[in-house]
């Protein structure tokens, strides 16, 4: 790829963008969001959370309710229909034109812009090379695999040098192996081009791997905006904590620099040092942050179920007081149902939700 191929990094701002359905009911509560130029932002959430609606408002396929505005840089594009916004879109279903060859698909945006034939062909070929499909230029779409089709769709969206690249679940239709490969490829392209990208997915793995920042959405609202690490390790509320990764919720209390876990553990745990906020009633801990202890465990539990996942073994254990916990153990360790295990907590790896 020629190193001079670099796209403008256009910042995008949504201002009070909400969306009501014609029959009543809100798909999206009015939201404000600033996307930095060149940033890859991922909208993550369960289906119906409003993430696709937000993407379609940015694209210009839906208009926000009155009062909402969309800015590309300093320009207010709210009234511009999609065909004049200069955006690139990639869809879950590829949406390649079946009546055109690979190269015709890629060149289509240039054709409608009136780019002369020779330049059109050169730019489309260059773009196809970039997604490593140079030798497929003359193929028909139905001769390509799913992964190849999505790469053609990427090339088609990027060749017109859009101000923003919008990707709507682009990997969902692919099988797991292809998905990982293409995800890496998309990541590479986005970094290389420096384009602002908005990526919608329900898959948290994709979100973590691709996003500079993640916008977690639920029920038409933004639940949290943050880097992948912030989302994972400092969830802003119970929804994010539950939705992203697996989380154990433990009740207890923290006071005067000490914490203790309560009644679910049978015998209350000897108090541990605590540097977090005073007065916390609930503690969160990830399965990988509970350790199996050879000796000197904080409490004992009984294995209720064990699932071998290859790189690790995921255990569901039950404490003496009846509190269920999900715990990750090394993959090579084998457990029997009913077996007793000793567990340790590191207070530094316990999380609390903001009050």
């Amino acid at each position: 790829m020629p190193s001079n191929f670099h796209l403008d990094a256009v910042p995008i701002r949504l201002q009070a963008c909400g969306k009501s359905w014609e029959g009543g009911g809100r798909a999206l509560e009015p939201l404000d969001l600033a996307i930095r130029g060149g940033e890859t932002i991922v909208f993550l959430g369960p289906s119906g959370c409003g993430k696709t609606t937000t993407l379609r408002i940015i694209a210009g396929l839906e208009s926000p309710d009155p009062g909402g505005r969309v800015f590309f840089g300093e320009e207010d594009v709210t009234e511009l229909p999609i065909e004049r916004r200069n955006v690139g879109m990639v869809f879950q279903s590829y949406a390649l034109f079946p009546n055109m060859t690979v190269i015709e698909n890629v060149a289509y945006g240039l054709k409608v812009r009136g780019v002369p034939r020779v330049e059109r062909a050169a730019r489309a070929e260059e773009m196809l090379e970039m997604v490593k499909l140079g030798e497929f230029a003359g193929r028909r779409i139905d001769q390509l695999s799913g992964g190849q089709r999505q790469r053609v769709a990427l090339a088609r969206a990027l060749v017109v040098r859009p101000r923003v690249l919008l990707l709507d679940e682009p990997l969902t239709a692919l099988d797991a192996k292809l998905r990982d490969g293409l995800r890496l490829e998309i990541d590479r392209l986005l970094r290389q081009l420096g384009i602002t990208a908005v990526y919608v997915t329900h898959d948290q793995g994709e979100a973590m791997a691709l996003g500079d920042r993640i916008v977690v959405m639920a029920e038409g609202r933004i639940a949290q905006v943050g880097t992948p690490r912030e989302i994972y390790y400092r969830p802003a509320n119970a929804f994010v904590a539950e939705f992203v990764g697996t989380m154990n919720r433990l009740s207890g209390e923290a006071r005067n620099g000490r914490m203790r876990l309560g009644p679910g553990f049978g015998v209350a745990l000897a108090s541990l040092p605590w540097s977090g906020p005073d007065g916390a009633q609930e503690f969160l801990v990830r399965p990988e942050d509970i350790d199996l202890a050879e000796e000197g465990g904080h409490f004992d539990a009984r294995v209720a179920a064990s699932v071998f996942l290859g790189d690790r073994t995921r255990l569901v254990v039950e404490t003496e007081g009846g509190q269920p916990l999900t715990v990750d153990a090394p993959g090579r360790a084998d457990f029997a149902r009913g077996q007793s295990v000793a567990l340790r907590l590191d207070p530094n790896r316990l999380l609390t939700l903001p009050a």
Binding site: A59, L61, P81, I82, E83, R84, R85, N86, V87, G88, M89, F91, Q92, S93, A95, L96, F97, P98, N99, Y108, G109, V112, R113, R140, I141, D142, A153, R156, A157, V160, L166
Partner: protein
Amino acid sequence: MSLRDASSLLPPLRRGGRGRVRSGGRDLPLLAGMIAPAAAVFGAFFLLPLARLFAIGGGGAEGWAAYATILTDAGHRDGLIATVLLSAAVTAATLAASTVAGLFLVRHRFPGHALLVAMLTFPLAFPGVVVGFMVIMLAGRQGLLGTITQALFGGKLVFAYSMAGLFLGYLYFSIPRVILTVMAAAEKLDPRLEEAARSLGATRAQLVAHVILPALKPALLSAGALCFATAMGAFGTAFTLATRINVLPMIIYTEFTLQANLATAAALSLVLGLVTWAVLAAARSFAGSSVAAAG
């Protein structure tokens, strides 16, 4: 199975669906037994009579040359040319009008939409005679157009009993089914294709020309072929409008009833059947292959 599909007279089949059972040979006698009654009736009352008709076509005074009269006899040849031209014109006009209206109805929703669709498809099952009568109502001696032109210009416009009337009648007959086919096909289009084209900057006209029409091509092809074939063989409308219209079905009818020339009638009707069936089969395989190309 929807009317959308059924109504275009022969509903299109989605081939290669999961529903097709690759049956073990065990069921073969059973399945053969299930198709046997239909096959027997079909063989006895269709294939056998057609074969007999074929023999009779060659058994007249002219012998097998009867099959050539469609080209050698000036009257027959003119009739064939007129029928083909009329059918082609009807097909072109029907496709154009139905595509505009069908696309419009699929792409827009407005109050009264369902009623409009119902009205446009109501004449679907009208027999040719009734269609002929509808043309008379519009453009006959006591027709609406005549009355209007009489009031406006003092002269009566009457064209029901001519080739123009027949054209109008076939248009009347074909539009409902082609609209249904267009709508059914347009509803199956992936809306993402349209969004993708627009995101790339395509205007509405470009969208229609580059994306929608190519996607509708298989449906338009088969609907057009059906329209053409129906117009070639239709008899009732011409019969109602006038016996003097020189189209092939009328020629066959006249040969058979008025001149009792069974051999010629047989030969002509077989040629007509062959042409019609060939057009349909060609369009089907053509449409089928472009569907496959569309993946």
